[in-house]
């Protein structure tokens, strides 16, 4: 009887320790869940415009701070602690910089941007990942001068490169929270307008960039 009790006790203890070891977490399991996701975002962005013009040439580094908002859709694939996501995004922006030489004003706006980006990821914990942002963006811009350096009123699209860093953490179930810091740099664009002096042509050159902090709520279909 004593022998039986001793043997049973030993077996119970071994079983419990093995069970506890199992609960510790399988180090080979995927910490990033595969699947499609959709998200909405809101943030604050700073617009910088390196502006120059040809007649009485000057350069200005202009800028503005404003709110941005939009959404994205993507697919995430994970392998243990590493992952990659591909997503398409679109943002509306309220960014408007200006020069005023009374009574004239020269405006620079960004209306929206959209594009595609990849996000290489690393899982710090089973619930939290960090990622890098690398992508292509296309921005819509508007410049209008009613007499500061000349006369122009035009819209144009310009391509650019996007980069950034961010973190994602699970909020509850399939909903995650994401914070991103994203920098966009667009190519330079020269547009022709009229000079202040009748019969002259003023060339306006603008190079836009933005730095944005964005807060997103993501729903994953997995």
């Amino acid at each position: 009887m004593k022998n039986v009790l001793t043997t049973v006790s030993s077996l119970c203890l071994i079983h419990s320790s093995l069970s506890i070891a199992g609960v510790m977490g399988n180090v080979d399991s995927n910490w990033i869940r595969n699947g499609f996701y959709v998200a909405g975002e809101i943030g604050v962005a700073g617009l910088v415009d390196k502006e120059s013009h040809s007649l009485s040439p000057e350069t200005h580094q202009l800028g503005a701070l404003g709110i941005i908002g939009g959404g994205y859709i993507g697919y995430e694939y994970g392998m243990k602690r590493y992952g990659m996501a591909l997503e398409f995004f679109a943002d509306g922006t309220g960014l408007n910089a200006a020069i005023t030489h009374q009574p004239y004003t020269y405006h620079h706006n960004q209306n929206y941007d959209l594009g595609v980006r990849v996000l290489p990821e690393y899982a710090f914990t089973p619930n939290t990942t960090g990622h890098v942002v690398l992508g292509y963006t296309n921005g819509r811009f508007h410049i209008a001068d009613n007499g500061v350096y000349g006369y122009i009123n035009t819209d144009y699209n310009k391509s650019g490169f996007q980069t950034g860093l961010g973190f994602t953490t699970i909020l509850q179930g399939n909903v995650t929270l994401r914070l991103d810091a994203i920098y966009d740099i667009y190519g330079s664009q020269t547009n022709a307008g009229l000079g202040v002096t009748p019969g002259t042509i003023q060339f306006y050159t603008n190079t836009f960039s933005t730095l944005a902090g964005e807060f997103s709520l993501i729903y994953k279909f997995s």
Binding site: M24, V48, H60, L65, F124, G130, L165, I170, L179, Y183
Partner: protein
């Protein structure tokens, strides 16, 4: 003999389970403690500048620049409840931010607005989403040191400006690879009070320069906590 073998087996089983029990983390990891950190980031600097030539007659420029910031912080974390946290920290950052307006003809004069550094104190109320991952907001006071210099673009001035400001932001902290080390990402907006400085116009009459500074900064920090 058999009894001795069984007792040894029993003892080994006990030892294994106690090892695993210890590894389970039955102890609650401490949170309260002093920490230090270093940060590096990118910031957007904004100067809403205007020059008043005569009552009601002014020029306005929204000058801006993007550049690097870097510095450090020292603080203390406390747990209010299991998931609600609070940090208080002092920080200082050096900056390389310079917004400019330049004339490319004549005397090639320019107006420059430059931010040198900022320092201050802030609170970080936080929420622990999962073990080790804490999202927080940042609310604080910032003291900024600036310089504006104009050698003939709108007038003449060369002055240092000190301004107080309010800082707000969002961030997240995650555990890093080594114990007591964590990685933190923050997005911060700082707005400083308006400043008026007296310079000279091109005809050497008094000219008022009005500047209103703000920054938007994204930074990454490595933090060590003394636990």
């Amino acid at each position: 003999m058999i009894m001795h073998i069984r007792l040894c087996f029993f003892g080994v089983a006990l030892l294994c389970s106690s090892v695993f029990a210890g590894t389970m983390g039955a102890r609650i990891k401490p949170y309260n403690g002093l920490y230090i950190g270093g940060d590096i980031g990118v910031a957007n600097f904004l100067d809403k500048e205007s020059t008043l030539y005569a009552p009601g007659t002014y020029d306005k420029h929204q000058l801006s620049a993007t550049g690097l910031v870097g510095g450090g912080m020292i603080g203390y974390d406390v747990s209010i409840t299991d998931r609600i946290k609070l940090g208080i920290e002092g920080f200082i950052n050096g900056t390389a931010l310079n917004g400019a307006a330049e004339q490319k003809y004549g005397d090639f004069v320019s107006f420059n607005a430059h931010m040198r550094y900022n320092a201050g104190v802030r609170l970080l109320p936080g929420f622990e989403f999962s073990p080790g991952t804490i999202g927080h907001i940042l609310l604080g006071y910032s003291y900024g040191k600036f310089n504006v210099k104009d050698n003939g673009d709108y007038g003449y001035i060369n002055t240092d400006i000190s301004n107080n400001g309010f800082q707000a932001g969002l961030g997240i902290k995650v555990p890093c690879f080594i114990q007591n080390l964590s990685l933190r990402g923050d997005m911060l907006y700082t707005t400083y009070g308006a400043n008026n400085s007296l310079g000279l116009s091109s005809t050497f009459t008094p000219l008022n320069y009005h500047d209103n500074f703000a920054t938007l900064e994204g930074s990454l920090s490595l933090i060590y906590k003394f636990l």
